[in-house]
């Protein structure tokens, strides 16, 4: 499999000005994404997991060019997406589409479903006749499980799940190669979540898409992803194939996250040990030195504060000085503090 997208050292930094500060005062820097590397192979799904505020949405927005970023994001044809002029980027916008978190808010309330779904097509293929566009929209609606005769309805007449299907149809109408799903199901009812996820999986197989699937807990990502990347404070903590990551998580943070995932089997559920995370997420404006996770890590040592752990380990990459399963003693310590 070839690499569709290779991201190297991607950084997004926002400079925040304090309200009422003098114009010459230097602004505070918020490093939302702080040096992320990963590759995405053609046709695979990469899950990105992290607590809210870890920079996963910002990462998605950087890839699609909604927020300025530095670093490199090399597309399959060798072009660096982050250093293109807006005009050059236009050609790639067709290849990279996005599905948003809030299904209703991502649809313009004053436009009909047909107009919404057609918008990317109208933008990228202005040469298509209207009848053809309409035909394609209807075909796409059918594909995502909407009745094509609803084409003239407005978003507020649909349920959340249906709105998300509209969002998916809009993303797929231009036949992209990569779809970035930014928490596509977290705003939906649990019963609907599975439907939408299954739809995404089915469409991915049918169309040979690559997906970047962002979520804030590991359980949703599990069924979708080939590989999973765990983010914390804008940095990659662990990146491995889904089976490796769920089977033998190495990073203490991943283990803590995993322990919080509910298990459907009641006996297993009762037996599992939750590793609590102590304290709150540190402010991204003032991240801890060394390993960013050290303030909440049950295994933290002096070296963790001094040295930044590099992401190492090939296919199962971990950014930790002391990777490995948590011991009983460490779990006990984590519980004590929390």
């Amino acid at each position: 499999m070839s690499d569709l997208l290779t991201v190297r050292d991607l950084r997004v930094t926002f400079s925040l000005r304090r309200e009422g500060a003098m114009p010459w005062a230097s602004p505070t820097l918020l490093r939302a994404v702080n040096g992320v590397d990963f590759t995405l192979r053609a046709g695979e799904t990469l899950g990105i997991v992290g607590e809210s505020g870890c920079g996963k949405s910002t990462l998605a927005r950087a890839l699609i060019g909604l927020v300025p970023a530095t670093g490199q994001a090399e597309w399959i044809d060798g072009r660096d997406l982050l250093n293109l002029t807006p005009r050059q980027m236009m050609a790639y916008r067709q290849d990279i589409q996005m599905v948003f978190q809030d299904p209703l808010a991502s649809l313009n309330p004053r436009m009909t479903v047909g107009q919404i779904i057609a918008e990317p097509l109208v933008t990228h293929r202005p040469d298509l006749p209207r009848a053809e566009i309409r035909e394609r929209v209807r075909a796409m609606m059918e594909k995502v499980g909407l009745l094509p005769n609803q084409i003239n309805r407005y978003p507020h007449e649909f349920s959340g799940g249906q709105c998300q299907r509209i969002g998916i149809a809009r993303a797929l109408i231009v036949e992209p190669r990569l779809v970035i799903c930014d928490e596509p199901v977290s705003a939906l009812d649990v019963s609907i979540q599975a439907q939408v996820i299954n739809l995404l999986i089915r469409l991915q197989k049918e169309l040979g898409l690559s997906l970047i699937f962002i979520a804030h807990d590991l359980s949703v990502v599990k069924h979708v992803s080939d590989r999973v990347m765990v983010l914390y404070l804008g940095k990659v903590m662990e990146l491995a194939s889904a089976s490796d990551l769920y089977g033998s998580p190495q990073h203490p943070y991943t283990q803590a996250l995993l322990s919080a995932v509910p298990v459907p089997d009641p006996t297993v559920e009762a037996a599992r040990t939750i590793v609590p995370l102590k304290g709150d997420l540190p402010s991204p404006m003032n991240p801890p030195s060394g390993c960013v996770f050290r303030t909440r890590c049950p295994r933290a040592e002096a070296r963790c504060a001094a040295e930044v752990p590099a992401l190492a380990g090939g296919d199962h990459a971990v950014a930790c000085h002391f990777p490995g399963p948590l011991t009983e003693a460490e779990i006990a310590r984590a519980r004590e503090v929390a």
Partner: protein, 308 residues
């Protein structure tokens, strides 16, 4: 099997069914508006006043320039409203038919109001939406310009303009148009700022829709509610401004007239027993203002159901 077949048939039947017509947010708002009694009353008044302005002239027995020599000089006794001599609203001090004059004044006042509001809507919306959408330094500069223009006492400037360049309709429109869009652009900019971070705008930006198209297709249609409400409230404001200027004697010039000018004339002769000269123009003036305010209120309720 049978059940399956039925299901399939009903499904396929639904698939080929004619396209369902959607209920747009506008249609919803229209329904709510038509259920609002006060707003409907206001709308009826406005329609009647407009009809009066358009076709009232056809019923006049006298033109608005003719002097009725039979009542001249004895207006207080002979010039009162009467059907017999064709002066439905009586005559003014010079013996001109007040009915024809009121029709003419209504036309001009409404025109001033509507044109002023229209300028405000077009210029203010585009200006505010552009400033808000582009943001950053452009926004700063554009809005500071508005602040500066707003800080000028506009009545003073308007009067100065009319005095310097002579009183004319075009000068009046220019003056009113110059000031009316400032508030509108501020309101629109505020709305745009909140709209521009909504996900549907982000979605459009992500697929590469041009800024111009985003403003026209995504921002402006979602602002239109606020703009419509503000515009209906702006019309009476414009009418008031014009009337005030005319009342001061600086507005429209004879032989043209407006409500303000008529009211001013009527007020001048109030003490000589010719109260109708004040009453008729004032009546139209007041009911029109009420009409616009009721409609504006109704629109606001209809377009923003959450507020109630």
């Amino acid at each position: 099997m049978v059940i399956d077949q039925q299901k399939m048939q009903s499904l396929s039947a639904r698939m080929v069914e004619a396209e369902v017509k959607g209920r747009s947010p506008w249609a919803d708002a229209r329904r709510r508006f038509f259920r609002n009694r006060a707003a409907m009353l206001g709308l009826t008044i406005l329609v009647l006043v407009t009809l009066f302005a358009l076709f009232g002239g056809a019923f006049a027995q006298w033109s608005n320039e003719e002097l009725d020599f039979s009542v001249m000089g004895r207006v207080a006794e002979l010039g009162a409203p009467s059907l017999a001599n064709g002066h439905y609203f009586g005559t003014d001090n010079l013996g001109r038919d007040l009915y024809a004059r009121t029709v003419q004044g209504t036309q001009i006042s409404l025109m001033v109001g509507v044109v002023g509001a229209a300028i405000a809507v077009i210029v203010g919306t585009l200006y505010g939406a552009t400033a808000g959408y582009i943001g950053g330094r452009t926004d700063q500069i554009m809005m500071r310009a508005v602040d500066i223009l707003m800080s000028i006492p506009y009545m003073f400037v308007l009067i100065l303009l009319l005095v310097m360049f002579g009183r004319s309709m075009s000068m009046l429109f220019l003056g009113i148009g110059l000031i009316s869009w400032l508030d509108m652009s501020r309101i629109v900019r505020g709305q745009t700022l909140s709209l521009k971070n909504r996900e549907f705008v982000e979605a459009a930006r992500a697929t590469g829709v041009s800024s111009f198209r985003i403003i026209i297709r995504h921002i402006v249609p979602n602002l239109l509610g606020v703009v419509a409400v503000y515009a209906t409230l702006l019309v009476p404001l414009m009418i008031l401004t014009e009337s005030f200027i005319s009342f001061l004697g600086l507005g429209v010039q004879e032989p043209l007239t407006s409500w303000g000018a008529l009211i001013s004339e009527g007020a001048g002769t109030m003490n000589y027993g010719t109260l109708w000269q004040l009453a008729f123009p004032l009546f139209f003036f007041v009911i029109t203002l009420f009409g616009f305010f009721f409609v504006g209120d109704g629109l606001r309720d209809a377009l923003d159901p959450k507020e109630r």
